[in-house]
């Protein structure tokens, strides 16, 4: 029978992630409190758990590497080594490597062996610097098996007196021997037995001489006494041994390695390592002193950094039991309301209409509260997403040679779990951007009369039905002229275009746009900002920028609290109902005749407070039958997407409501111009408009109307 442990692997990976986080947070805190033994113990336990557990699943690479980290941590916590910046750096780098090893164990990919062994060497060196090198454990050379033959062992055993107090029972041993072969108690040794008065029943005074006939090896017999061997008087003699000692006699020459292992000069593990075939470039170079181990591992880190990042998404979520309890109560109330309604319905008369209405209202309250609570279950504090930034900023400030102070606030602000997972990357990019380009070097800052240390501030708060996250720096701000020039150069805008400040800042989100003079390996290649914007908008959110030259820049991300529900405005075109996301609506107007102009080549325009916006007739784009075709009698919704504004004509505004977004792609496909569908109050399907898509259609499609 073999028990399959593979379905515990998920538990292992989840638990390991937690340990990794504990270790990282601990290491970062350690720099402020290097003498904190409690902290060191906590970090040590994290590594120890990973080591132990990974071994259980056969993840030897993880286990062995963690062992090295653990050894260093052990010395730190027992005060045999002092925490220095170098040690902390080494441990943090090793942590990254460990993360990668665990990811590889999960995905089945091959790990970066060079990096692993380079860091391993450094960890061992670090460990050995504190204490003399440990002698390798002696591993006995394997005993060649004898052909199956009967052994006759004579065992004399006097267990320690405190045997019982260890929870051991001598009869167990005899039973166990009995399972291995044929046991006879040859004699009982009562020499230690005191008089009745002195006899303590909780002590063991007896000894035995046993004869065991078995085909089992000496090793197996010895193993029976594993737990008591050191404290007992024990002799096991193999009567039928051929006179030669049990250890192996070889016929030919033994390999050098084996001899070294047997004589305790090296351990089997060390031998295996030395025997591994390929000598890696990094190793050779270190040996030749052409490069230091530090340089090698730096280079290897660069190699793995540039490898595409793997996203580890946890399919599970931790929920406060309080939230669950409240929900269970609410469901209970719902059941009560429902039965009250059924009861009413079974014998309803018009006279009871007020009661009915009241109960329906109660139902509405119950449902709304349940909806909020259920949404609340998926809400996680944004602190989780912020947790990677202290480490990131530390690394970035080191790399860029700048002094950066990171301030986090609003970590308790909750948002939907799926949103949190998706904002990590965009936030990281914005923070990197601030560190790299926004903040000046210490010298520049001093020259500008600013404190040497630059500040990056991450904040999160709720506003309306959204969550706002700001990334603020007190650096040099965006350079208007440079951006304009770049925009013109890249053909994004014409020289003569009159752009608002806002529109100019939004240029930096165009693909390929970068005004960085220097491209670092972190940012500057212009591939980041447009992805940030796309990601945020993909979540149904918006990005906006505020900046002051010389003072700093603030990026604001506005995201819906959940992906599944949006606030929308219900509108009617002819007989059809559509939902327009409230986030995209700036205002609604009923235009006057003079405000509308038609320009050849540009279509209809409407003048809204001095700006001419394109006028889009929704019925045209969707080929519907409108009720009204005269804009001055209809309603224009001024919508905005990506800095572009458009006036969309509808027949009537019906109202505003929260709608649950239903997927079109689940059973059909994505429709251009439609962000999703929803179930309207009358049970029919309503479509939620996607402004970007509408603009695309009106540019490419309408002209071909049949």
């Amino acid at each position: 029978m073999s028990t399959d442990l593979s379905h515990f692997k998920d538990a292992f990976f989840e638990e390991s992630q937690e340990h990794l986080t504990t270790i990282e947070e601990g290491l970062l805190q350690l720099e402020q409190r290097p003498g904190d033994i409690d902290l060191l113990n906590r970090i040590f336990r994290g590594a120890h758990s990973i080591k132990g557990n990974s071994g259980m699943f056969g993840f030897t690479a993880v286990s062995q590497f963690t062992h090295k980290m653990e050894s260093v941590l052990d010395q730190l916590r027992s005060s045999q080594m002092v925490v220095t910046v170098e040690v902390a750096d080494l441990l943090l780098q090793s942590l990254d490597c460990l993360k990668a090893l665990i990811d590889c164990a999960k995905s089945g990919e091959a790990p970066n062996d060079e990096l692993v062994s380079a860091l391993g060497v450094r960890l061992e060196a670090c460990q050995n610097g504190a204490t003399p090198p440990k002698t390798g454990a002696v591993t006995a050379a394997p005993v060649p098996s004898h052909a199956t033959q009967e052994h006759h062992y004579t065992i004399t055993w006097a267990p320690p007196q405190y045997l019982f107090q260890r929870g051991l029972d001598p009869t167990q041993f005899i039973k166990e021997l009995g399972e291995l072969g044929c046991v006879k108690i040859a004699s009982l040794d009562t020499s230690r037995l005191p008089g009745l008065k002195e006899l303590d029943p909780e002590q063991c005074y007896l000894g035995w001489t046993l004869e065991v006939e078995t085909v089992k090896e000496l090793k197996v017999i010895e193993a029976v006494f594993d737990f008591v061997r050191d404290d007992s008087t024990l002799t096991i003699v193999d009567r039928q041994a051929t006179g030669a000692p049990a250890s192996a006699m070889s016929d030919g020459t033994k390999p050098l390695g084996e001899i070294l292992v047997e004589s305790g000069v090296v351990s089997q593990v060390e031998l295996n390592q030395a025997l591994s075939q390929q000598k890696r470039v990094g190793e050779i170079l270190v040996e030749q002193k052409a490069a230091t181990p530090e340089q090698i591992s730096e280079a290897l880190k660069k190699q793995s950094d540039n490898a595409p990042a793997k996203k580890a998404e946890t399919p599970s979520i931790r929920v406060d039991t309080v939230k669950i309890d409240r929900l269970i109560n609410l469901v209970g109330e719902l059941v009560i309301t429902q039965s009250m309604l059924s009861d009413l319905g079974s014998r309803f008369e018009m006279s009871q209409l007020p009661v009915l209405l009241e109960r329906v209202a109660q139902l509405e309250r119950n449902t709304r509260e349940i909806q909020e609570r259920v949404m609340g279950i998926r809400m996680v504090p944004i602190g989780n997403a912020f947790s990677r930034f202290p480490r990131l900023v530390r690394d970035l400030s080191g790399k860029a040679g700048k002094k950066i102070h990171l301030i986090l606030s609003g970590e308790e602000t909750e948002l939907d779990k799926t949103v949190i997972e998706s904002i990590g990357d965009p936030l990281t990019h914005l923070v990197r951007n601030s560190a790299d380009h926004g903040l000046e070097t210490p010298t520049e800052r001093l020259a500008a009369g600013k404190p040497e240390q630059g500040i990056i501030r991450l904040n999160a708060f709720h506003e309306g039905g959204n969550i706002c996250i700001t990334v603020e720096d007190d650096g040099r701000g965006l350079n208007r002229e440079k951006i304009l020039a770049k925009g013109v150069k890249q053909g994004l805008i014409a020289e003569s275009d009159k752009l608002s400040d806002e529109q100019i800042w939004m240029l930096i989100f165009k693909p390929g746009f970068s005004t960085a003079d220097k491209v670092t390996d972190v940012s500057g290649r212009g591939v980041g900002m447009d992805v940030v914007k796309r990601n945020i908008e993909g979540l149904g959110g918006t990005v906006s920028i505020k900046t002051t030259a010389g003072k700093g820049t603030t990026f604001t991300l506005k995201l819906p609290l959940t992906l599944a529900i949006i606030e929308g405005m219900t509108v009617r075109v002819g007989k059809d109902t559509y939902i327009v996301p409230l986030l995209s609506i700036l205002e609604s107007i009923q235009p006057k005749r003079e405000m509308i102009k038609t320009i050849v080549g540009k279509g209809e325009l409407v003048n809204v407070r001095g700006m001419y916006l394109p006028l889009m007739r929704l019925y045209d784009v969707f080929r519907l039958e409108p009720e009204l075709s005269d804009p001055t009698k209809a309603i224009l919704l001024i919508l905005e997407t990506e800095g572009e504004r458009v006036a969309v004509m509808v027949d009537e505004i019906l109202g505003q409501q929260q709608v649950v977004i239903k997927s079109m792609e689940q059973n059909f496909r994505k429709i251009e111009g439609v962000a999703g569908a929803t179930i309207l109050g009358d049970g029919t399907v309503g479509f939620i408009l996607d402004v970007r898509g509408l603009l695309n259609i009106s540019r490419n499609g309408t002209a071909q109307a049949a």
Binding site: D576, V621, F622, R623, L624, K662, S663, M664, Q666, N667, F668, R669, K670, I671, E672, G673, V674, A677, I679, G683, T684, V685, G686, F687, I697, G701, Q704, A705, A706
Partner: protein
């Protein structure tokens, strides 16, 4: 004895008991009888108002709310190039499962569940360019009826399901 056998078989057929083939839900479109593998049929629903989807081919009638899920509805008459008729009280939507997606087919009326042996199924003959038979699995014979067996996987083509379906009206 041979007679006994064939009588049994006939009985089985009439009672729709599957012996050696599969069972098909059959339905009517005009004069013709069509069949769908019963295992693909999730439910049969009376016709209710469907929301038209902007800029989709005419045989995609729209979408329907099926207990909270959005399900596309196909007007089979249009798909097969037949003229559309006024819906009657027999008009139903057959909800089928196709490659992990659910869709509804508007049919004139639903008929029996028939058991058709594999050996009674002939490949669909090519009628030339007039009728597109690429979505037929074959023609089955059940008693004295001929059933055109639909290949659900090919009914909604990839063209229907991709973005590029921008009709030149």
């Amino acid at each position: 004895m041979a007679e006994q056998d064939s009588t049994n078989k006939d009985l089985n057929h009439q009672m729709g008991i599957s012996t050696d083939g599969s069972q098909f839900l059959t339905f009517q479109l005009g004069e013709e009888l069509y069949g769908v593998d019963i295992l693909r049929v999730q439910e049969i629903k009376g016709y209710t108002a469907v929301t038209r989807i902007p800029n989709t081919p005419p045989h995609i009638k729209g979408v329907l709310n099926l207990r909270g899920t959005i399900v596309p509805i196909v007007e089979l008459r249009t798909k097969f190039g037949m003229p559309t008729i006024e819906y009657t009280m027999f008009t139903v939507i057959v909800v089928v499962v196709v490659k992990e997606k659910i869709m509804g087919l508007v049919v004139d009326a639903v008929s029996d569940v028939l058991d058709i042996d594999k050996k009674d199924i002939q490949p669909a003959p090519q009628f030339g360019a007039q009728v597109d038979v690429s979505f037929l699995n074959g023609i089955g014979k059940a008693g004295d009826k001929l059933v055109a067996l639909l290949d659900m996987d090919r009914l909604l083509t990839d063209g229907d399901m991709t973005e590029s379906e921008r009709i030149a009206a």
